[in-house]
């Protein structure tokens, strides 16, 4: 029984279905991807609101927040917790893994749908449940969890310490449900990529975004277990009176930190790698060049994945673990900069001798690369144990990880949206608005976090409600004010994007099959692609980055077209 027939039958039963089954409880990976995108967008608005409240309080302490009202210390702790949790677990992962992974993997490997369409839908609805739980917890009388997104015990393990009872419990439940959702999703990604590739699509011919998504899924699958165990123990501590993390009952707070960061560090790469994948795709297409060093990038991605499992204790250098652990962990930590250096240098080398078209997508990819580098290099300060003694827990850390996550999640993500929007919705987005959006985002983002680097160097601790207690920080207050103004700007420049996104969906210029002249398989299909994706199973002849092949008339060569003999020899193959 061949793919097309199987999925064809599969699809027919769909087309007779009504609106609900087709758009709400659909099992079509493209629809599910859009659902993920919507979910993450809604949560992103919440996260942005939290950021606005936090920053306003930090700039003008104890003044009523416009459009909100008074904002007390307990609210502050609650909202930094929510901001972190939402942005990492309910925006970054659904956006980069859920939306892009779901949309791209089957299309790019030439499969008709995910391996397990129903499991796919289930994982999305599990995520919805998780988000709902989290949002509900924000409306509890005593407020949501307030122990930080890392939920360090014992603060999180005993309600007495924060005064939050069910807020924290619901936080644990929400996180657990989110994990369940992405476990299902990750298994789906892996099986699809391993088993459902089209003929000729060998592993080394897969687009890099697929590689990064899959590596991210593996990292998630293998790292999340200990934290699930930890979450169970934490929940028992809060509800059954056990004392896993409570010293007065013989527990050990550092155990939670170990369990959390064993997951928490790979999680960084779970988010960062897909962002890089998107940037790589865009870079290659708009510089009309093959990615420089495809194999090197693949291997460094895998190396990053493996290394990310042996660096977690660098979050705990000064947390009271055996100080002798610090040196090995700072070696591994700093070593992880090597694969990332390869990644960055390869991207730079891809620009060399290119013929670059500065579309909004390309601008976002380049902007992401440029900003990420700052996030990467500042990591060295924190990776070296001795300088971490001073930097740890300051705004320097805050800026560092925002510089790592924002470029990958938002620059990468926005770039991906501008790039694949035609394929997703069959219409083009407005380029001018897109460029306004990019420059606004780029400038304001840097204006938010560069000041905070210096605030951190000045010794400002993070997670402080306000700084008036410290004379030594008084002279740094202007930096906080600047950051807040920039954040307001950053939030405002998202409006053109939202308008552009929703307007183009109905009024945008109708997109043809391959508006960017790109190579990978999804561009060989109509926009938007039908379900089943491939009316005839595609056959793949070469890797997806054959741009500007010497001795060819046009400068791109789709994956499902064999390389002309003359060109192949000219390309030195």
């Amino acid at each position: 029984m061949s793919t097309a027939v199987a999925a064809g039958a599969h699809a027919h039963e769909h087309h007779e279905l009504g609106f609900i089954r087709r758009y709400i409880f659909s099992t079509d990976h493209k629809v599910i991807a859009k659902q993920y995108m919507t979910a993450s967008a809604l949560m992103a608005i919440l996260g942005g609101l939290a950021a606005y409240l936090i920053r306003w309080q930090l700039a003008w302490p104890e003044t009523d927040v416009p459009g909100w009202g008074p904002f007390g210390p307990e609210n502050y702790n609650a909202y930094i917790t929510m901001h972190g949790t939402i942005m990492i677990f309910f925006v970054a992962m659904p956006f980069l893994l859920g939306a892009f992974g779901n949309f791209l993997i089957p299309l790019m490997v030439g499969a008709d749908d995910m391996a397990f369409p129903r499991l796919n839908a289930l994982s999305f609805w599990t995520l919805t449940v998780a988000s709902t739980i989290l949002v509900v917890s924000m409306f509890l009388p005593e407020g949501p969890a307030a122990a930080g997104w890392t939920g360090y015990a014992p603060l999180s393990a005993n309600a007495l310490y924060t005064g939050v009872h069910w807020g924290q419990n619901l936080w644990i439940l929400a996180i657990a449900a989110e994990f369940a959702s992405f476990l299902m999703g990750g298994i789906n990604f892996l099986v699809t990529t391993l088993n459902m590739r089209a003929p000729g699509m060998s592993l080394m011919r897969m687009p890099l975004i697929v590689w990064t998504e899959v590596t991210a899924s593996v990292l998630f699958l293998l790292s999340v277990g200990p934290l699930i165990a930890g979450a169970i123990m934490l929940f028992l501590d809060r509800t059954m009176g056990t004392g896993f993390f409570l010293p007065d009952k013989g527990g050990d707070p550092l155990l939670w930190e170990h369990l959390f960061w064993f997951f928490g560090h790979p999680e960084v790469y779970v988010v960062a790698l897909p962002g890089f994948g998107i940037m790589l795709e865009i870079l290659s297409v708009f510089s009309r060049k093959p990615i420089f060093g495809y194999k090197m990038i693949v291997y460094s991605t895998i190396t990053t994945g493996i290394l990310s499992f042996v660096v977690w204790a660098h979050h705990m250098f000064v947390s009271g673990i055996d100080p002798r652990l610090a040196t090995p962990f700072s070696i591994t930590t700093i070593l992880i900069s090597v694969p990332f250096a390869i990644l960055v240098f390869c991207m730079t080398a891809t620009l060399y001798g290119a013929s670059i078209r500065f579309t909004a997508a390309m601008l976002f990819a380049l902007g992401g690369l440029i900003t990420f580098i700052l996030g990467g290099v500042t990591g060295i300060f924190l990776g070296s144990a001795s300088s971490d003694i001073y930097m740890h827990g300051t705004y320097f850390v805050v800026s560092h990880f925002h510089y790592v996550l924002f470029p990958t999640v938002f620059f990468g993500g926005f770039g991906g949206l501008y790039f694949w929007y035609p394929k997703m919705f069959g219409r083009m987005m407005n380029e001018t608005l897109g460029k306004i959006h990019f420059w606004g985002t780029f400038i304001f983002f840097n204006c938010v976090f560069i000041p905070l680097f210096f605030a951190g160097l000045g010794g400002t601790p993070r997670r402080l409600y306000e700084f008036s207690n410290y004379e030594m920080l008084a002279h740094l207050q202007p930096l906080q004010v600047m950051a807040t103004w920039s954040l307001i700007g950053l939030l405002i420049v998202q409006l053109p994007f939202l308008f552009n996104f929703s307007y183009s969906m109905f009024r945008g210029k109708v997109a043809e099959k391959n508006p960017w002249h790109a190579n990978s398989l999804e561009w060989t299909l109509d926009s938007p692609p039908p379900h089943p994706n491939f009316p005839t199973p595609p056959r793949v002849y070469h890797d997806p980055y054959e741009y500007s092949v010497p001795g060819m008339s046009e400068d791109w060569l789709p994956q499902d077209q064999p390389m002309p003999v003359g060109a192949a020899t000219a390309a030195g193959k």
């Binding site: 029984m1 061949s2 793919t3 199987a6 999925a7 599969h10 499969a111 008709d112 391996a115 397990f116 369409p117 129903r118 499991l119 289930l122 476990l183 990750g186 298994i187 789906n188 892996l190 099986v191 391993l194 088993n195 459902m196 590739r197 089209a198 003929p199 000729g200 699509m201 060998s202 592993l203 699958l221 293998l222 790292s223 999340v224 277990g225 200990p226 934290l227 699930i228 165990a229 930890g230 169970i232 123990m233 028992l236 059954m240 009176g241 056990t242 004392g243 896993f244 009952k249 013989g250 527990g251 050990d252 155990l255 369990l259 064993f262 199973p537």
Partner: protein
Amino acid sequence: MSAAQASAGTTMAPEVVETDSLHQIPLGKVAIWWFLASEIMVFGGLITSYLLMMFAHGGFAEQAVHVKWKLGALNTLVLLTSSMTMILALASARKKDLEKTRMFLGITVLLGLTFLVIKIFFEYIPEIGEGFTPASGMFWSFYFGMTGLHGVHVFGGIVANFCLFVYTMRKVDWSLLERRVEYAGLYWHFVDVVWIFLFPLLYLT
């Protein structure tokens, strides 16, 4: 889920073998193994924490004398046997012998239930009666936490097997049944393996 695996499992295999040997493995099997891999990490996290606590401050052995290791041994016997019946169910499914498949699945379900009954009514309840609750000491926290999580897994396995048992009541699609029994079995044996380690950890310390 298993149905999804089944439908997908049949689709790709034949035509893509030419590309890549991985395609010979049915989708569902790869998925189940990945699922088990993450499960290994879950129980791994718990076991690691348990050992860490045990080394960090002893006193576990003194507590462990209160658990009913004879019943634990009996439960181990039950689970091991159920594992055998499960694999025999698969064997007879491969021989297209519906009667035996159904019988072995039924036995497996019954053995699973026996395990839970012994666990709950002959261990948990008397122990709590004797005043050993999850709140009474680190060892008991781990004892109830780990066996409880394992028990949940056992229950899940029982449900899955019972669904298969019911499925065998009707006219069956053999390849489908064979795959489902195999995947349910993989999970069931994994639960068994977990217990093989939990038993000495918790009862024989």
